[in-house]
């Protein structure tokens, strides 16, 4: 899938996943990969700048948790502002999908 398209939706995907439960970075990446059956192939390094940006914007909060194995993981959870942003993004996404689909339907067979 076109990674440029994915870039614009990454924040939406992250907020959507975190609205389910708190997750750490690798868990987010692997969930996206699993739930889309590998449709989204992205540079995983892009995930963290986005997470940190969203944390700085107050949409999510990250907290370190130490596991029994001694490994430490930074779990992110969505905030109230994050949920509001998610609703806005989902609305925008729906509108975009409808608009793009209309154009694509009218252009059907022209390609």
């Amino acid at each position: 899938m076109d990674t440029e398209l994915l870039k614009g939706t990454l924040a939406l995907l992250i907020l959507s996943l975190l609205s389910r439960k708190s997750m750490y970075g690798y868990e987010i990446a692997s969930t996206v990969h699993r739930d889309t059956d590998g449709t989204f192939t992205w540079r995983e390094g892009s995930l963290y700048p986005n997470l940190h940006k969203m944390e700085a914007d107050g949409l999510i909060v990250g907290e370190w948790e130490e596991k029994e194995t001694g490994r430490k993981r930074r779990y992110y959870r969505i905030t109230r502002d994050g949920r509001a942003a998610l609703r806005e993004k989902m609305q925008s996404w729906s509108e975009l999908c409808v608009a793009v689909n209309r154009i694509l339907e009218k252009s059907d067979g022209q390609a």
């Binding site: 690798y26 540079r43 995983e44 892009s46």
Partner: protein, 290 residues
């Protein structure tokens, strides 16, 4: 250094922000890479192949670093960064340094005023009394060209005695006016500079006052010898006279008169042994003995 650490160094070295935050970012990326590598190893890849695949999936170091720098800012040159940190710290503690400076200058001013007051009340009047009594001879200081020290002490004593209230009130009014009217952003520094200048001025007064007392006394002290000398001559004359009378009494076999004259001579000699009296009869630095 392993391939993983090398990769993380390349990614994280340019990230701006506090060191603690950079360490957190590094650890978070490291945990991700280790998780991903474990997943690939579970799928059958070797350690090295799993790590290579993970690093490839994560992205080229420069690309990841660029994105992280866009979020966290770019790390400056180490020296510039330290300088900025130092500046930030000192800016934050500006009030502390300024309060400390004000406190120290205030303490110096207080000690200076205390020292001047002590001298004006206790020492200078005694010094003036010594001059009135002729123990310190102004003519000697005139000859030595240090009479202006004495004039300074007199003037200082006069000003302290007659103008202290006015000077104190003027200082309070000036200070109040300064605090009321001056609105400059450098007000604190102006105040500090003014206090520092006053402290230097008072220090100058202290130096001149102390030098005046010490130099004047040292120069004028020889007058002590001149004052003592007539009395010493008197005692010596008494001894001479008594000894002459002793010889006469011896000729006349007046034993009682002779004993009396010996006692007088002995008393006079004993007086000469007290203090620096005998030294006034000797040349400079000679040691006199009775």
């Amino acid at each position: 250094m392993g391939k993983l650490d090398q990769y993380l160094d390349q990614v994280c070295r340019g990230i701006g922000g506090p060191m603690e935050m950079r360490q957190h970012v590094r650890q978070e990326l490291r945990e991700h890479l280790l998780d991903a590598a474990a997943q690939h190893k579970a799928a059958g890849l070797t350690d090295e192949a799993a790590l290579d695949k993970v690093l490839e999936e994560f992205g080229k170091p420069d690309e990841v670093r660029t994105e992280l720098e866009a979020t966290h800012g770019q790390r400056m040159n180490w020296f510039i960064e330290k300088a900025m940190q130092w500046k930030e710290k000192t800016m934050k503690s500006k009030w502390l340094w300024l309060s400390w400076a004000h406190g120290m200058v205030g303490a110096i001013l207080g000690l200076e005023v205390l020292f001047i007051t002590f001298n004006v009340i206790l020492i200078i009047p005694r010094f003036q009394k010594l001059m009135i009594d002729g123990i310190i001879d102004p003519d000697i200081m005139e000859d030595q060209g240090v009479a202006w020290f004495v004039n300074f002490l007199h003037n200082l004593s006069y000003v302290a005695g007659h103008w202290t209230t006015q000077i104190t009130l003027a200082a309070i009014v000036l200070w109040g006016f300064f605090e009321w009217r001056v609105k400059s952003e450098h007000k604190t520094f102006i105040r500090l500079s003014a206090l520092g200048t006053i402290a230097v001025g008072l220090m100058l007064v202290i130096i001149l006052m102390s030098a005046g007392l010490v130099v004047s006394f040292t120069m004028g002290a020889p007058a002590l010898g001149r004052i003592t000398r007539p009395w010493v001559f008197e005692q010596v004359t008494t001894i001479d006279t008594s000894m002459t009378e002793v010889e006469k009494s011896l000729t006349a076999k007046d034993w009682n008169g002779m004993t009396e004259q010996v006692d007088r001579a002995l008393t006079a000699a004993t007086r000469l042994t007290a203090g620096p009296a005998a030294s006034t009869l000797t040349a400079e630095n000679d040691n006199a003995k009775i």
